[in-house]
Symmetry: D2
Subunit: 293 residues, 4 copies
């Protein structure tokens, strides 16, 4: 269910709250407060008004708001007390399918976090891989209270920016998506490598999970971005290129076994809203890559 910015600008308070009241977790007052600044020229302005409502709220209200957030991967997730949007977000990163051991680990970290800061650990899961969430947990546990209070609010702003972008359409949409793309140049032939098989893996610990399989088109690119239309989850990835197969059927005198067969490019994504172009330039005997644009 989406709504246009124009319609929002024309709504009364009740309609406005009905439309956006669930954006900030169990805090319809954020939408109500933001509406005072309507009309909004851009969707980004709308979200900024909502963030301002949180930032200027009394500390107790902010704290209550943080405390109302569900435990990440916690019991709440199993007991059904989450909003629908929270459920979807947590499922997307695999937090709905933790092993017992992983569940226990997250639970321990969450307990330590709550004991130290007085509110549950909040992170915008769609901007992270499972590994990255774990690293966040460990880093943020080391924060002092003030730093972490700000960090938690920042995560809420990331979460709600995504919700607003999914709910409201109109001018000046906030930037909430990144893009991961590749391109294979066969520099032996001076042409794009056509029909070359590419796989994208995400690392969770030592294990690599296949995310995408594709073949390069006539321009050496995949038909669609490897990841696009969403934030790029912060984490470790590996692209694998079937360079050996590409040259096997060309009469180019490769070795047996070929010097290069599956070429892995391993890299991390740190900017969920960024553009990562990770091309491969290859011959049967050499290759190079770089973060391009």
């Amino acid at each position: 269910m989406t709504v246009t910015l124009d319609d929002l600008n024309r709504m009364d308070l009740r309609g406005f709250e009905a439309a956006l009241g669930e954006t900030f977790e169990l805090a319809p007052w954020v939408a109500a407060s933001a509406r005072a600044k309507s009309p909004f020229a851009t969707v980004t302005e709308l979200h900024e008004a909502m963030m301002a409502a949180v930032r200027t709220a009394p500390h107790e209200a902010q704290l209550g708001f943080l405390r109302n957030h569900p435990d990440l991967a916690g019991k709440a997730a199993r007991a059904g007390a989450l909003t629908e949007e929270s459920k979807r977000e947590q499922a997307s990163v695999g937090l709905d399918s933790l092993s017992e051991e992983e569940f226990a680990r997250f639970h321990r970290l969450n307990d330590a976090y709550k004991a130290k800061f007085g509110f549950p650990f909040i992170v915008c899961v769609r901007r992270h891989t499972r590994d990255s969430i774990l690293r966040q947990f460990e880093r943020r546990l080391l924060h002092d209270a003030t730093t972490e209070f700000a960090a938690a609010l920042q995560e809420i702003f990331y979460i709600t920016r995504l919700r607003i972008a999914a709910t409201v359409t109109g001018e000046g949409m906030p930037q909430v998506t990144g893009r991961l793309s590749t391109h294979v140049l066969d520099t032996q032939a001076g042409r794009p490598a056509v029909g070359l098989h590419v796989e994208l893996y995400e690392y969770a610990g030592d294990r690599a999970h296949l995310l995408v399989q594709a073949r390069t088109n006539a321009d050496g690119r995949t038909e669609s971005p490897l990841i696009g239309g969403r934030p790029l989850p912060i984490g470790l990835y590996e692209l694998r290129f079937a360079v050996g197969d590409h040259y096997r059927n060309r009469d180019v005198g490769v070795a047996d076994p070929p010097f290069l067969d599956i070429v892995p490019l391993r890299f991390s994504i740190a900017e969920p809203e960024g553009h990562y172009h990770v091309p491969l330039l290859c011959t049967p005997w050499s290759y190079s890559t770089y973060r391009g644009s």
Copy 2:
């Protein structure tokens, strides 16, 4: 126990056989026959004379000679009927520590091979990884009898060339060693990358086994070749470079997590007596490699 070529050239038949009679498996006649061409100007000539003795022997003698070779990874290996040299060679590639399943697989292939060709599968194990031996087995099972007879003799020539090179010293040694080396250039700094941690892995199926760990020296190289002084086993390898650590302590503004952390270079070796120079040129945002010299 080594012997000089000069001493060999001066030996009588009995001494010559004592020195070299075990070179060709259970076939002291090969050494005896080769001695007719002494004196030898080079160690390579000595080995060529021994190969010629085998090549010009009657087919029945050749066949009997092939049949006298031990089963690779076979029962013989466990019953102690191998020459000492055969034992060492088979241990080097991990054939002395097969799992029950692997042992069964080798045994099945060996049985099929013997049933088809009438002699055991022979391969110069020091020129191969375990995976490469398995692939050899499967390929050579497809040969016709004539092709495989020649292939088996060729392997014996590789084996005995190594034995001769280990036993005899003198002019004109045969080329039995390869070299795998690396070099790390930090092209952001325009200097060799110093103190960068490098690991070399060998693949056995999907698993990578650590072979070597090293740090680059002031010239960006490892103090000694990653593999040297022996044939390079044909197979799949991966070099891993700790590029992330290298840049972490330099003030070069890397991302968090860094775009490049562990950089893997995966490549195959096909020429056991060749020189493989596999350098890495890197910045925090790019890298390239090639088979150099």
Copy 3:
């Protein structure tokens, strides 16, 4: 003056000849003959019909047609007997401003060519640099009569394809344009190089003539292709990148003088209708380029 394909398809013979009669030099019969195949579904089909009219004409008619072409850079160019289109084409490559010595050289080659083949040298000048025309002249003088007859017709087809593409609009336009583009990646920073000064030169003999100056935009590209919207003249080019200036104001510790200042990339274009993407990946200490896409 352009005409739509639809209008052409509806014209009578007289109108058709008026519109396209000058396309093939002094040979309105080509248009007249092609019209018999109208209507044309695409502009490419129209040109193919015109080429077919030439190919199927009697040899004498073909020869007469070739003979009616002006001498390239010849006296005719100075006496005003060229069609307007021929004049523009010859001016574009600098053939209207030859030195006396160059004029004499072209004249000598042209005389030798006419003496051997019986018709003037014809080349689609918009697909060549001056150097490339000279090399064509020298190569084609070595042809036998049959080969050169076909080569001359092919050039006329290139010339008239450009004329048709400039005169007629509609579906299925023939491919008559190429594109030369660049892109500068600063792989030290992992970002496009912004505001970097780029120059494109064309070589005539040893001298390089400046064709284009540009600065890279926020994506490291020039706002428009270095050459586009026309055939890429076959010839030798050099891109020069002000890499030294780019790094001078960044705190990246370059040498004095910097290892890299003006980086030249020298390359030839061989496919006038192709896409040449010639990027530069650079750090203060390294660079690479390739024909990309």
Copy 4:
């Protein structure tokens, strides 16, 4: 005429002065003063003792010493008042063959320099190209008196370090030579490029002067360094590689004209005693270079 450090250590003052008195221009007192610290364990120590003698001399003595140096490219050079060593050094950089205009320019700069600082411009010409000397002149004219006094002494130390290295043999020679080398890898073939023609040019203004021609050997290197056994003159250079010829006779399907023919690598040398390794990795469609080691 060289002398060993051992012999120097055994000489009396008269012999010592006879051997080294000409090292510092018209200042035999420098050698005499340094001798007080003999014996010297290394040649470097000997030179340091001579530098210390200059550094600790009274300012008036230092100034008189600087004033005793010949005008660079000045009248003195023509009147024969130079020591033999000064003549050779100035000839090496082309200062003995200036055009009238260049001579006038150097003269003007020299007059301005002497007017400002009260002594002639001194530079270790063997560490510079002609262009670099000119740039030095212009930069150093902007110095204040104290800075320039130190700069002039530093140049004398470079000059005399070279003289000592050429005159005295023994342990611990000072580092006075650099090395410029190259290496060509054909990454299309995965092998060194053999027999590839390479030229090294030095730029003087816009003109490039050929310094060295060479062919790559079986390892893709030139038999000897492009520059070696002497300081590398600071300046702008260009390596030119005949990549087009290299691929022309290989059946690798290059374009006509080839995308790459003569590949120029243009770079500056800033460290006369450094090692500049400037390799080329190439295919018919791509190349890269870097400052290696």
